[in-house]
Amino acid sequence: MLRVKELSCTRDQRPLFSSLSFSVASGELLQVVGANGSGKSTLLRCLVGLYTGYEGDVDWQLNEAPLYLGHKAGVKSSLSVLENLQWLAGLRNVSLDSELLGETLSKLRLEGYEDVPCGRLSEGQRKRVALSQFLLCPNACWVMDEPLSAIDDRGLEFLTARMSEHLDDGGSIILSSHQSVPVDRPLSTVSLG
């Protein structure tokens, strides 16, 4: 699904990582570990193609772009939950019918919040809105930067269940995290720094 060859990145004349090679197959979970400032976020941004200041090959064998969750949630605080969901679905050309919407909202435990502006939600709820794209869009690869931070126990449980499900469906996940990932699936790691 993804093959990375000899990936190197230097920022502000400081080498972050060099000659990284790894690959991710379908059904595989890859965790990027490393200290703060070791380049985890930069690596993920290189992989999805947001950051282009790298050398080496990033080769995706996918039909559609991977889904990405970064430090910035991609949630507009002056728009309601429903409007945000519609926007995120529209971006990926997914038509949001009422069935999919209801299912997504109930999975995210956001029922009854449809019309609340995201700015008035709690941090954890906003995070769940940001995670909605992983429920709405059927893309095969997920790239997640610190998905487990600012999320409560129930949210964690839900997220790990959804991740296992996605892996079982033949999808793959690349994530960065300080914690160990409580997903009971084969896991490979890339450590930086």
Binding site: L50, G53, P66, Y68, K72, K76
Partner: protein
Amino acid sequence: MRFFFASMTRDLRVHFRRPSEVLNPLVFFAVVISLFPLGIGPSPDQLSLVAPGIVWVAALLATLMSMDLLFRSDFDDGSLEQVVLSGQSLMVLTLAKVFAHWLIAGLPLVVLMPIVGLVLFLEVDGIWTLALSLLLVSPTLSLVGSIGAALTVGLPRGGLLVTILILPLYVPVLILATAMVQAALSGSDVSGYIYWLLAVLLLSLALAPLATSAALHLSVDE
């Protein structure tokens, strides 16, 4: 096309939820205009002579003030990243956002024009031409301004910088538009100016989104 309308309605919604951000440039425009009589003196002769220039300079500044906000919130909350990743066209996004911005920041200036014209003692002909020129030029201002907004979107305090980058580029439209009003006041034909302003508008419609989308791509590349 669907993406164009989705972005446009989204932007309009966002703007209407935060009306102060939209209204501030209009208020700024009105305040700047009303400062000129205080500075120059209240004589109708003098004021009507410099009115086109005053209106135009105030309109340029007001547009640039609001321009700074065009992409900022999308950049800050990560929406822009998501658009880039989704593979949707940034040019379409730019056009949609500029159009939405023009609807709420450019068009009201045109509507305000009769009042402003009266306050500055312009003749009726002059007022109509002024409104017409503003209608033709304000989209150009928004389009060209979007380049500056996109270039500075990643900077914490880009507001003043946008003005420095973009105001020199506004020189041609400023010249053409004020000349058009003066021609109308002196009773000559203005259709030539209209064609010129339309040509400039089409040119910026074709080229500005290219530069803006390149700058937007750049802003998320970090």
